[in-house]
């Protein structure tokens, strides 16, 4: 369950860090790409685990 919810929660967190913060605190540049990759891989890993059990 945790794993299935991760994409939603991490997705919103990432979007907020891009949208809701003024400079210089807003996510930008290389770091934004790195954080995006971490969010994608982490959520993807969780969903993979669930599918692995269900299928």
């Amino acid at each position: 369950m945790n794993a299935l919810l991760l994409p939603i929660v991490l997705g919103f967190l990432y979007l907020l860090a891009l949208k809701a913060l003024p400079n210089p605190y807003r996510l930008h540049g290389v770091y934004a790409v790195v954080v995006g990759a971490i969010v994608l891989i982490t959520s993807g890993f969780g969903v993979f685990a669930v599918l692995n059990v269900l299928l």
């Binding site: 929660v9 991490l10 919103f12 907020l16 913060l21 993979f48």
Partner: protein
Amino acid sequence: MRQSLLQRRGLVYFLGVIGPGLVVMLADTDAGSVITAAQSGAIWGYKLLLLQIILIPILYVIQELTVRLGLVTGKGHGELIREHFGRGWAWLSVTTLVVASMGALITEFAGIGGVGLLFGVPLWLSVGMAVIFLSIVAWTGSYRSVERVAILVGGFELAFVVVAIWARPQPSEILAGLVQIPWKNPDYLYLAAANVGAVIMPWMIFYQQSAIVDKRLTIHNLHAARWDTAWGALITQVIMGAVLIATAATLGQTHPGLPLDTVQQITHALTPFLGKTVGAVFFGLGMVGAGMVAAIVVSLATAWGLGEVSGYRHSLEHHPLEAPWFYAIYTIGIVLGGLLVISGVNLVALSIAVQL
């Protein structure tokens, strides 16, 4: 002299800011995570230890975003989603929080109750006492007092480090296991994914951001709040690693296939190697600490999150009569979770469903 005074002032300031990161990270290694780490060590030896280390910077990077958002906007995660994406998305997000929290609370109480059973304490008594204690902590305290209690009970998790040292792990075997990654094995990948799920959790994001807001930290505290998060990430993964090492150095060597789905199974398996004091008492202390701090964090995250989206008053600084919904949601979650565990539903199946 002047320098030491400045240093002391710096330390006092830092101690005043730390808390949201440390507490959320102590709660991160909750009862369910302890079971996942124990299974990892028993089945795969030290081969999942490297993952625990890799997860330290990942945890930091993710939770640091909540630090920025909380400090700069002064608003919680639910409130920000409502403002930027609308009510519908905010409700969706907070619903995921409620579902995850309810599941987590059940695993925490199952862990606490399991330790009680080891020492002959019936479920209703151990879980009932935990429910009462957790309610009193929130109802009678301010944000800072609740935070202090959370750090104190979460600190019991350090007992796992004693258990790991007592298990006499061989450094050469640890080093060998660190670099063996059987990534083509689907069972290994599955347990690796379960570890990621046990370390990165939805309610942590809600909690840390709301805690920063309730503690009234501001952007001037950014530096110290980042250190709070970094130290927390390190400590929680040391605890995960300690549990993994404890089972890898003992069960991993001789009985890698033992079922380890409950506290009782783990302690029964560890006791022949470590003796009753370390295998059961210390492991039990760590487990109770993990379950209690996580129960506080999960319930607060839910009560804050629902308040941020629906608009009811939500702060530990309010008296229960001033913020009745906030205290009611906090208490209802704890009581429901406790009752479900006492009722004797199939906790193993439920815990696995939650962790996934």
